[in-house]
Amino acid sequence: MRGRFKVGDRVTVLELNKAGHIRTPFYVRHKTGVVVQDCGLFLNPEDLAVGITSGPVVKLYRVQFQQRDLWPDYKGAPQDTLCIEIYDHWLEAARTTARKSAPKPASKKKPATRKKNEPRSARA
């Protein structure tokens, strides 16, 4: 399958309210960051954990967030960031415009007002 996102895209992490072997921690849900790496295709851990080893495969991305966006009271330096891996189905294109100090890799930040792919949740 083709990935929906590319490096530099601003993306928001969805809340899919799924139970099971979920690799998307709560602290990044609803948060917006920038794709910094397309890691390729992987079997979905949510499937693997229940014995489904035949796929389908899903895209995995590394997404970078401003720490201040994750934690409103973040006490470190304002430029501090966090990178985390998010599978494609947990992401949607960000609807908000880029904030001033987006992470470095977002060299070409276009206000991502593209029509939002409504998340096809749980493709399992």
Partner: protein, 230 residues
Amino acid sequence: MSHEAHEHDDHDHGDHDHDHAHDHGGKHSHPSLVIEDEAGNIEGQIMIDALQNLLVARNLLAHQEVTQEIEKLESPGVHQGAKIVARAWTDPAFKQRLLANGKSAAAELDIKVGEAQLVVVENTPDTHNLITCTLCSCYPRSILGQPPSWYISKAYRARAVREPRAVLAEFGMSLPDDVELVVHDSNADMRYLVLPERPEGAETWSEDKLAELVTRDCMIGVSKALPAQS
């Protein structure tokens, strides 16, 4: 089996490289078996021992196989990561390949990265990288061996993303305010290695000697490489 928590595989495709402390939720919700049991994970140990005894009694497993497997898990050591770092310090072309694809660059040194992919992140005067795994204890075990107990602790895993500079301070590292701290949550299929800055005063050192300055902690990002002392 005295080794902790390799009782089932999941997204790691059989690489056995993390412990299982996450909540599976759902109908078959069960308490976390491993992790964070400084006092000894008694219940998990009893279950694993019982399972092993059953398997042995039914001739499905021999005790030696368990021992061999544990040995295999525990044999990789920090020196492999150190070798990769020392080569990157002395060979700029290798460093570029390493940053582009950690797994294939490591293979050039006959170091086999057993995990899916290895992402190498470079510390510079402007950027410091710190690795954690908030969901369990993902760690590049095939090149660094087993993680230290603090890496697995819930305190480190929570605080490394929430207040990383305070954590670094407790490790004795005060990061200047103008340095960007990048925390990497190793939550899924990638594994991470920090390429620390090469210590000053070691410009003429051989690769082997440089490797001695590369500690486990500096490859996780909670310290710098050791200072060069001739």
